[in-house]
Amino acid sequence: MTASTAEPASKVELPASVGGGGEIPTFDVTLRVRRYNPEVSDESHWDEFKLTMYGTDRVLDALHKVKWELDGSLSFRRSCAHGVCGSDAMRINGRNRLACKTLLKDLDTSKPITVEPIKGLPVEKDLIVDMEPFFQSYREIMPFLVTTGHAPTKERLQSPEDRERFDDTTKCILCAACTSSCPVFWTDGQYFGPAAIVNAHRFIFDSRDDAGDMRLEILNDKEGVWRCRTIFNCSEACPRGIQVTKAISEVKQAVLARQF
């Protein structure tokens, strides 16, 4: 605890507006969902659903309403429903978002809200894509701490500054919003993609790690960091606010610094 936390007052006057207050309004939205089920047809199509939703509802709530009340065959992944598990990345109005972190009221509800699977990965059914290629790239950059020498009996020491150096990239939840927002990845599935590089960054810049060179070697590949065109789609897509493009640039610089 810092000095900032002097004992707070036992009683304070609260302004009347506290808690946002007021009735939560309802509104109507149209949801346009891209459907695909290879058991029925090889073609995908759009389905429209008209829904009445509440003020704090998210796109995920709208999808649930469809699944639970209108069409049980609509398939999508979701779990925690508050943006920490990374299951429900999808393209909402053309942008990669987590359905559980996108409030309907923040979208233009006068027009239909389009929901599609993320691009660049094979669609399996409706909004579900095959995540294996994505995790394959992740696994290839050695996403684990590698150390040499004897482990200390207690913890390894690390200064708060060294810890801060890679803090941003530890936030990654592997939702694939960044990688599937990258036009390079759309045409070249072999590109490692932003997420893999972000996770490499997390270890390359960890002062405790000794395998930075090997990761830089892996990413100094035809399909590695040099594929990045610095268009910032990934940074814009990241639901965790990670500066993805910055992280990729730092890895590029590290590769160069190692060569010269």
Binding site: G20, S75, R78, H82, M131
Partner: protein, 595 residues
């Protein structure tokens, strides 16, 4: 149908499952089955920290931690298990650090620690800084670090394989005193590949259940949509008892109306609770440690404020978490994620406005009974060889009637590791148990019933009615009347469940079918919880009976054991048999729980 053979099969890839996999994967051929992807597990939603008496920032020792755990659990904790956990906590944290977990650091470079509810210095004298943390995403870091190490050790994952059945066989055996009994043994699990709709049988010498909790029986919950108590449900249906199911923890600070968790770390860092009059009401309920009292006490105090008309908001149905006296820079450094939740979901700016909060269903203290080695018990003391459980699905019991904050992250690491090692060692010496004839028959029959059902009921409607009644009648305040109401509702819902139909008839990613199966488990568990709650006529920890407001050590200092038994009848419910189990005491005698 395909059959796979492994030495060890782990069901569930959250914290406990992956911690076990790291140990087991290095010792025996191991497969991990999960109905999600490993990094989607709800361990990742844990925020505040993981307690261990490292004494990095102030004097501390594991014996105090044991005491806090025992007292926090209102003395229903098995003290031998609590000792193991508090003692091994230190290594558990150091293990994680060595695996790469980026803990926050002190200026000297050691792991930083902060205060947390119920954790005190010298047996309750004052709050102590014991929780090791990584900002307010400690669980996220643990989950990622464990997955990273599974990748490092090449652990085999079967992602999106939903385990539906445990293959149990019974053998005649004789106890030491000469009485005959049926010894259960496990042969494997039956799983359903969500992607293809095919059945896969996994035959294994040892099986670890690490399937997590069942928070979705409640409407307002911090739990993920996928936490439907599958593991507990499967075990229960297979005749394995469930222990202490009446104890469910309600976390005090869920975002009002949504249930999304705001970590106790907020209060650890100095945030306080206020009612509509602006009063810091916890000063009345727990004069010594105030807002850092254990969760059951804070949650009840909050509910009481609302009940007595001092709730805030237009409907006076929540209280306020006040961070406005903290420096914004301090909030950003220590609590970045939860302040973002408040902004994203409620549009409230925590720097300047208090955040609406209300208790949210959070954690099942009860579960599949195990001993301190992680071995599952088929009754009070008979081990089922080769079957292990760890994490929220298990009941060791280290949490007793109320879990202390951070102790769940500790539980998954300590007992995950123990189960992983013990399962692998067991598999080295044991043989496969022969699979029963046509092992998947029951599972396929169950799926066919659901898939081809032509009833008129919708799964979602039944589930939401179940959650409504559980929220209304089984929350922080319970009475015989409210519990009976819930039981009546559940019985009706079970009737309706027999009459469901689903719309998706396909094989590929049939999540409609999945939700229907999950609802079956939810109904079973909701019934177990309510029956147990009706049975326990006292108030203790997370279970508060207004008709029996006091703790009654003379009659109720014991664990509840529930068995599925078609011939039995308890509390008017057919098919459930009650047992009790002794609480293990080592050094602490029960005393009044005051903070």
């Amino acid at each position: 149908m395909q059959v796979h053979k492994y030495d060890v099969v782990i069901v569930g890839a959250g914290g406990a499952g992956m911690r076990a996999a790291i140990e087991s994967g290095q010792r025996a051929r191991t497969a991990v089955l999960t109905k999600l992807y490993p990094t989607r597990s709800h361990t990742g939603a844990a925020q505040g920290g993981m307690c261990a008496a490292l004494a990095n920032v102030e004097e501390d020792n594991w014996e105090w931690h044991t005491f806090d755990t025992v007292k926090g659990g209102d003395y229903l904790v098995d003290q031998d298990a609590a000792e193991v956990m508090a003692k091994e906590a230190i290594d558990a944290v150091l293990d994680l650090e060595k695996m790469g977990l980026p803990f926050n650091r002190t200026p000297e470079g050691r792991i930083d620690q902060r205060r947390f509810g119920g954790h005190t210095r010298d047996h309750g004298k004052a709050p102590v800084r014991r929780a090791c943390y990584a900002a307010d995403r400690t669980g996220h870091m643990i989950l990622q670090t464990l997955y990273q190490n599974c990748v490092k050790h090449n652990v085999e994952f079967y992602n999106e394989y939903y385990v539906l059945d445990l293959l149990v066989v019974e053998e005649d055996a004789v106890r030491e005193d000469g009485t005959p009994y049926k010894q259960k043994r496990v042969a494997g699990v039956v799983s359903y590949d969500l992607a293809s709709g095919e059945i896969h049988i996994f035959q294994a010498k040892a099986i670890i259940f690490a399937t997590g909790g069942a928070g979705k029986v409640f409407k307002t919950t911090s739990n993920a949509h996928t936490l439907t108590g599958d593991g507990m449900g499967i075990a229960f249906r297979r005749g394995i008892p469930l222990e202490d199911m009446e104890f469910f923890q309600f976390h005090p600070t869920g975002l009002a109306g949504l249930g999304i968790l705001l970590s106790e770390a907020a209060r650890g860092e100095g945030a306080i609770l206020r009612n509509s009059e602006g009063e810091r009401f916890m000063e009345r309920y727990a004069p010594t440690i105030k807002d850092l009292a254990p969760r059951d006490i804070v949650a009840r105090s909050m509910a009481n404020e609302v009940r007595e008309g001092r709730g805030a908001g237009p409907n006076k149905d929540y209280v306020l978490l006040d961070l406005t006296h903290l420096e914004p820079a301090h909030i950003d450094a220590k609590l970045p994620d939860i302040t973002e939740f408040a902004r994203t979901y409620l549009g409230v700016e925590p720097y300047t406005e208090p955040v609406p909060v209300y208790p949210t269903a959070h954690y099942a203290m009860g579960g599949i009974p195990t001993n301190i080695k992680g071995e599952v018990l088929q009754d009070n003391d008979t081990v089922i060889p080769g079957l292990y459980a760890a994490g929220e699905v298990a009941c060791v019991s280290v949490h007793g009637s109320n879990r202390l904050g951070t102790n769940s992250l500790l539980d998954i690491n300590v007992f995950g590791k123990r189960s992983g090692i013990n399962a692998a060692e067991y598999a080295k010496t044991a043989d496969f148990v022969e699979l029963p004839e046509d092992p998947s028959a029951e599972t396929i029959a169950m799926l066919d019933v659901v898939r081809t059902g032509t009833g008129t009921e919708r799964v979602a409607a039944i589930r939401s009615d179940l959650q409504e009644t559980m929220d209304a009648n089984m929350q922080v305040f319970r009475t015989a009347e409210s519990i009976t109401t819930a039981l009546g509702d559940i019985t009706k819902l079970r009737e309706r469940y027999r009459n469901i139909s689903i719309q998706d008839k396909g094989k590929r990613f049939n999540l409609d079918l999945l939700e229907a199966v999950e609802l079956g488990f939810l109904l079973d568990l909701a019934e177990a919880m309510t029956v147990a709650a009706l049975h326990r006529k006292e108030s203790r920890g997370g279970h508060y009976r207004e008709d029996f407001p006091d703790r009654d050590d003379a009659n109720w200092m014991k664990h509840t054991m529930l068995y599925k038994d078609p011939t039995a009848e308890t509390e008017g419910i057919k098919g459930i048999r009650f047992g009790t189990k002794r609480v293990v005491f080592t050094r602490y005698e029960p005393m009044e729980r005051k903070y």
